[in-house]
C-alpha cells in the first residue's frame, strides 16, 4: 500500500498542465473560471485540439484512439487537470456514453463511422433517455418504435435532453415490443439524426434562467434499421452498461477543488463585515467542513480508481463507489451554497430579462451574480444521473443485502 503518486504520475500531471496552459484559449478559460458552461464553439475547438493530442478518449481501445498503456490513475489525472484549470472536458455523451456502448455493442460499420467522429466532435450527440413519465423509473418509457420494412417509425417524447439545441444526433431508448412481460424487455437503443423530419426540439428554461435542457418530440420519425445499436429489444443491456460507466467522473473532484480554490481567493477580498469574508468564522468553518469532505471524496476516488486499474476479472463491487455520486453531488451543492453566502446581498442581482446575464463590473462582480443561479441550477446534481434516493436503493440491494 503506497498512496502517493509515482514520479511518472507527477510528471504526467505537469505535462498536462503545461500543455493546457499553452493551448487553452484565454476566453474559454475565463468563461469556465466564472462558473459558466463553454459555448458550442469553445467546446468544438477545444475537443478537437484534445483529440489531436490523443487525450480525448484514452479509455477507449487503442484501435479507436484509446491509450491502453494508461492507468486509470493517469486518466484521472488528465480529467482532474481539465476540471481544475478549468478547461472543457470531452463531451460525455460522445466519449463516455455512446462511444463505449458502440465499442461494446455496435457493428463494425457503426464503429468505423461513428467512433472517430465522436472523439473529434464532428458529430455532437445528445441523450434521449428520460421521458415525462419515466424519470427515476427509466424503464417505464413510452416512446414507441414500430418496424416498417427497413425503418423504424418513432413516436413519443423525450425530456431533460441536455444541449439538444447543439446536437447533430441523438441516441435514445425506444419501446419496440410493448407486449414484453417485463418493462425492461422490449426496449431498443437507436441513434437518430436530429434533422430527420418529425423531430422538434423545445427549450426548457430552468429556474436559473438558463437554456440547457430541452424536450424532444418524435412525430412519425423514420429511422433506418441500420441505426439500431445492439440487439433489437435488448436495448436495456446497452443502457445499463452505459449507466454503470465512469463512476469516478461523477464525483467531479477536480472541478470541486477548483471551485474551492477560487472561492478562497475570492473570499480574501470579498467584504465580510469588519474583515474580508475569509475571516468570517461561520464562513470559514463551513468552508473547512467542505474541505474535509472533499478530501475524503478525493481519497475515495483514488480507491475506486485503483480498483478500475485491476483486471475486470479481479474486480469486486466496491462500496466506495457509492460514495462518489452521493457525496460528490452533495459537495458540489454545498460549494454552490458557500458562494451564495459569500455573495451576500449582491447575490440577489439577477439576470437581464432581455438576454444575457449582467456582466457589468460596476454592478456586482460576475462571481457574485452567478452564485445564486449556480446554486439553483446545481440542485439538479442530486436528481439526475440516478437521484440520491435511487443511489441509496441501489446500495441497499448491491452492498447491504437488504
Amino acid at each position: 500500500m503506497d498512496l502517493r503518486f509515482t514520479d511518472d504520475e507527477r510528471a504526467f500531471r505537469q505535462e498536462v498542465r503545461d500543455w493546457i496552459d499553452a493551448n487553452l484559449p484565454a476566453d474559454t478559460r475565463e468563461r469556465l473560471a466564472a462558473g459558466r458552461t463553454p459555448t458550442k464553439e469553445m467546446q468544438l475547438n477545444w475537443q478537437k485540439k484534445l483529440n489531436a493530442k490523443g487525450w480525448c478518449v484514452p479509455h477507449w481501445p487503442a484501435e479507436w484512439g484509446g491509450r491502453s498503456d494508461w492507468s486509470a490513475i493517469k486518466r484521472f489525472i488528465l480529467l482532474e487537470e481539465l476540471q481544475g484549470t478549468p478547461a472543457p472536458i470531452p463531451l460525455g455523451f460522445n466519449c463516455n456514453m455512446l462511444g463505449p456502448v458502440l465499442i461494446a455493442f455496435g457493428t463494425e460499420e457503426q464503429k468505423k463511422f461513428f467512433l472517430p467522429k465522436l472523439a473529434n466532435l464532428d458529430l455532437w450527440f445528445c441523450q434521449g433517455f428520460s421521458e415525462p413519465g419515466a424519470g427515476s423509473d427509466l424503464a417505464s418509457l413510452k416512446t414507441r418504435a414500430v418496424r416498417e420494412g427497413d425503418h423504424y417509425i418513432v413516436n413519443g417524447q423525450k425530456t431533460w435532453t441536455t444541449l439538444a439545441q447543439y446536437a447533430d444526433w441523438i441516441f435514445l431508448l425506444v419501446r419496440t415490443n410493448p407486449e414484453a412481460t417485463k418493462q425492461q424487455e422490449g426496449i431498443s437503443f437507436l441513434v437518430v439524426e436530429m434533422n430527420t423530419p418529425g423531430i422538434t426540439v423545445r427549450p426548457i428554461i430552468t429556474i436559473d434562467g438558463a437554456h440547457e435542457v430541452n424536450e424532444v418530440f418524435f412525430d412519425d420519425v423514420k429511422v433506418p434499421v441500420a441505426n439500431l445499436v445492439g440487439t433489437e429489444h435488448r436495448g436495456w443491456d446497452c443502457a445499463k452498461f452505459l449507466l454503470s460507466n465512469e463512476r469516478t467522473g461523477q464525483a467531479r473532484v477536480g472541478a470541486s477543488k477548483d471551485r474551492m480554490r477560487r472561492l478562497k481567493l475570492i473570499a480574501q477580498n470579498a467584504p465580510g463585515g469588519e474583515r474580508p469574508m475569509i475571516e468570517d468564522s461561520r464562513f470559514r468553518e463551513r468552508l473547512v467542513e467542505v474541505e474535509v469532505q472533499l478530501k475524503a471524496l478525493e481519497m475515495t476516488t483514488m480507491r475506486v480508481l485503483a480498483d478500475e486499474n485491476r483486471q475486470l476479472s479481479e474486480r469486486k463491487p466496491n462500496p466506495a463507489s457509492s460514495v462518489l455520486k452521493i457525496r460528490g453531488t452533495e459537495i458540489q451543492q454545498s460549494i454552490s451554497d458557500l458562494y451564495v453566502m459569500a455573495a451576500g446581498p449582491y447575490g440577489m442581482v439577477g439576470a437581464d430579462p432581455d438576454g444575457d446575464r449582467w456582466n457589468e463590473p460596476e454592478l456586482a462582480p460576475e462571481w457574485a451574480t452567478l452564485a445564486q443561479p449556480t446554486y439553483f441550477n446545481w440542485r439538479k446534481q442530486t436528481i439526475y444521473g440516478g437521484s440520491t434516493e435511487i443511489q441509496k436503493n441501489i446500495m441497499a440491494k448491491a452492498f447491504l443485502g437488504l
Binding site: 428520460s130 413519465g133 419515466a134 424519470g135 427515476s136 423509473d137 417505464s140 425530456t159 431533460w160 426548457i204 428554461i205 430552468t206 429556474i207 434562467g209 435542457v213 467584504p271 465580510g272 463585515g273 469588519e274 469574508m277 468570517d280 468564522s281 461561520r282 464562513f283 463551513r286 451564495v340 453566502m341 451576500g344 446581498p345 449582491y346 447575490g347 440577489m348 442581482v349 439577477g350 439576470a351 437581464d352 430579462p353 449582467w358 454592478l363 456586482a364 445564486q372 443561479p373 446554486y375 439553483f376 441550477n377 440542485r379 439538479k380 442530486t382 436528481i383 439526475y384 437521484s387 440520491t388 434516493e389 441509496k392
Partner: protein, 383 residues
C-alpha cells in the same frame, strides 16, 4: 396566551386570500412579470382598496392602526402567492421609517398618499462593502446650511426602481463602521443627483443601484436623530424581519402543499411516489420544519413591538435563523422530491424555492444572524 385570530383579523386574512386566489394564479403572475413595472398596478390598487397599504399606520395619520399580527397575516398570504408588488418596501420598510421617524407634518403629507397607493417608498442601506452590516455606511451626509448634501451609493435597493422616495442611511459623523454617526434621510427619487438603475433580482422581484451624487436635501429630509439613526434602522428592520417571516411562512406552506400534491399524483414504478417511505419521511421532516417556522413567525409578530431593543433583536435574530434554515430545508427538499420538474421556469415550485433563497439573503442570512446571536450572548442569558 391566545393563538386565535380575532374576527377582524380573520376577515382581513380571508379578503386577501380570496383576492390572491382569484387574481394571482401562476399564470397571472407570469403576466404581471411581463408588465412595464414587472409587477401589477392593478393588484396594487386592489391592495389599496383592501386597506393593505395603510395597515400599520396610526389612525390619526390616516392609517388603519393595525399591529404586527395583521402585517404578518398579510405577508403570509402574499408569500403563498409570491406576490411581486412593492408592499414590503413601501408599507413595512418605508412605512416603518415614516411611522417611527417622520414628523407629524411629514406623516400628514405622506401617509394618505401611501394608503391611496399613490406613493411608493424604498429603503437603501446595502453598500458594495457593507454586506449585511447595517452600521457599515460609507455614504456621507454633510451639513449644508440648514440642509444636507448626500454622496454615495446604495445597492440592491428592493423596489428602488419605482419608489417615489428612497430612504437611505448616511454617515453624519464618525468612521465607516461606527455605530453612531448614522442618519436616516428621505430622498425624493427625482432629486437632482439621484440616478438609479433597476434590474430583476434572482427571484423575479426588482432591485436597484442608486447613486447619490451631491444630492442636496432640506433639513426635514432627516428622519429622527442625526447621529443615532441606527436605533431607528434596527427597529424598522426588526419589524421588517417579522413581516418577512410571515412571507416566508406563506411561501413554505404553499410549497409544502404543492409538494404533497405532487407526491400523491406523480407515479413511478407503478405507484404514487408518495407511497415510498423515504419520501414520506422527507415530507414529514419538511412539515416539522414548517411548523417550527410557523411558531417562530408567531414569535416574531409578538416581539416586533418589544420595547427592549436588545431583547427584540435577539429574538428577531433567532427568527431569521429559523426562517433561513426552514426555508432552505423545505425549498431544497421540495425540489428534490419533485425531481426535474420543479427546476423549470414553467413550474410554480421553483419560484418559491428562489424566493425563499432571497428571503434568507435579505437583511442577513441565517449564518449572519447566528453570529449576531452568538455575539449577543444567545437567546437565554445565563443568570
Amino acid at each position: 396566551m391566545d393563538f386565535d385570530l380575532s374576527e377582524d383579523q380573520r376577515l382581513l386574512q380571508d379578503s386577501l386570500t380570496k383576492l390572491l386566489a382569484d387574481k394571482y394564479k401562476f399564470e397571472d403572475r407570469k403576466r404581471y412579470l411581463k408588465s412595464a413595472t414587472y409587477w401589477s398596478q392593478e393588484m396594487w390598487e386592489a391592495y389599496a382598496d383592501l386597506g393593505l397599504l395603510g395597515l400599520p399606520f396610526a389612525e390619526e395619520d390616516g392609517g388603519f392602526g393595525a399591529g404586527p399580527v395583521e402585517v404578518m397575516l398579510m405577508a403570509e398570504a402574499m408569500g403563498s402567492a409570491i406576490t411581486l408588488e412593492p408592499w414590503l418596501a413601501t408599507v413595512v420598510m418605508g412605512g416603518g421609517f415614516i411611522r417611527h421617524g417622520a414628523s407629524a407634518a411629514q406623516r400628514a403629507a405622506m401617509v394618505p398618499q401611501i394608503v391611496a397607493g399613490k406613493l411608493k417608498l424604498a429603503f437603501g442601506y446595502t453598500e458594495p462593502q457593507s454586506r449585511h452590516d447595517l452600521h457599515d455606511v460609507a455614504t456621507t451626509a454633510k451639513k449644508d446650511g440648514a440642509g444636507w448634501v448626500l454622496e454615495g451609493r446604495k445597492g440592491v435597493v428592493l423596489h428602488g426602481d419605482v419608489a417615489d422616495h428612497i430612504i437611505v442611511t448616511a454617515r453624519t459623523g464618525g468612521a465607516r463602521r461606527d455605530k453612531s454617526g448614522i442618519g436616516v434621510f428621505l430622498v425624493p427619487a427625482n432629486a437632482k443627483g439621484v440616478t438609479r438603475r433597476g434590474y430583476p433580482t434572482t427571484d423575479g422581484l426588482r432591485g436597484a443601484e442608486i447613486t447619490l451624487d451631491h444630492v442636496s436635501l432640506p433639513a426635514e429630509a432627516l428622519l429622527g436623530d442625526a447621529g443615532n439613526g441606527l436605533a431607528l434602522v434596527d427597529r424598522v428592520m426588526d419589524e421588517t424581519i417579522a413581516a418577512l417571516a410571515g412571507e416566508a411562512l406563506g411561501a413554505m406552506d404553499a410549497l409544502q402543499k404543492l409538494t404533497l400534491d405532487y407526491l400523491k399524483t406523480r407515479k413511478q414504478f407503478g405507484r404514487p411516489i408518495g407511497t415510498f417511505q423515504s419520501l414520506q419521511h422527507r415530507a414529514a421532516e419538511m412539515m416539522v420544519s414548517l411548523e417550527e417556522a410557523r411558531s417562530m413567525a408567531m414569535l416574531a409578530a409578538m416581539m416586533a413591538g418589544e420595547a427592549d431593543a436588545l431583547e427584540r433583536r435577539r429574538q428577531m435574530s433567532a427568527v431569521k435563523v429559523q426562517i433561513g434554515r426552514s426555508g432552505k430545508f423545505i425549498g431544497q427538499s421540495a425540489i428534490q422530491l419533485h425531481g426535474g420538474i420543479a427546476m423549470t421556469m414553467e413550474y410554480l415550485g421553483g419560484h418559491y424555492f428562489k424566493r425563499l433563497t432571497t428571503i434568507d439573503t435579505m437583511f442577513g442570512d441565517a449564518d449572519h444572524h447566528l453570529t449576531q446571536l452568538m455575539a449577543m450572548g444567545g437567546l437565554n442569558q445565563a443568570a
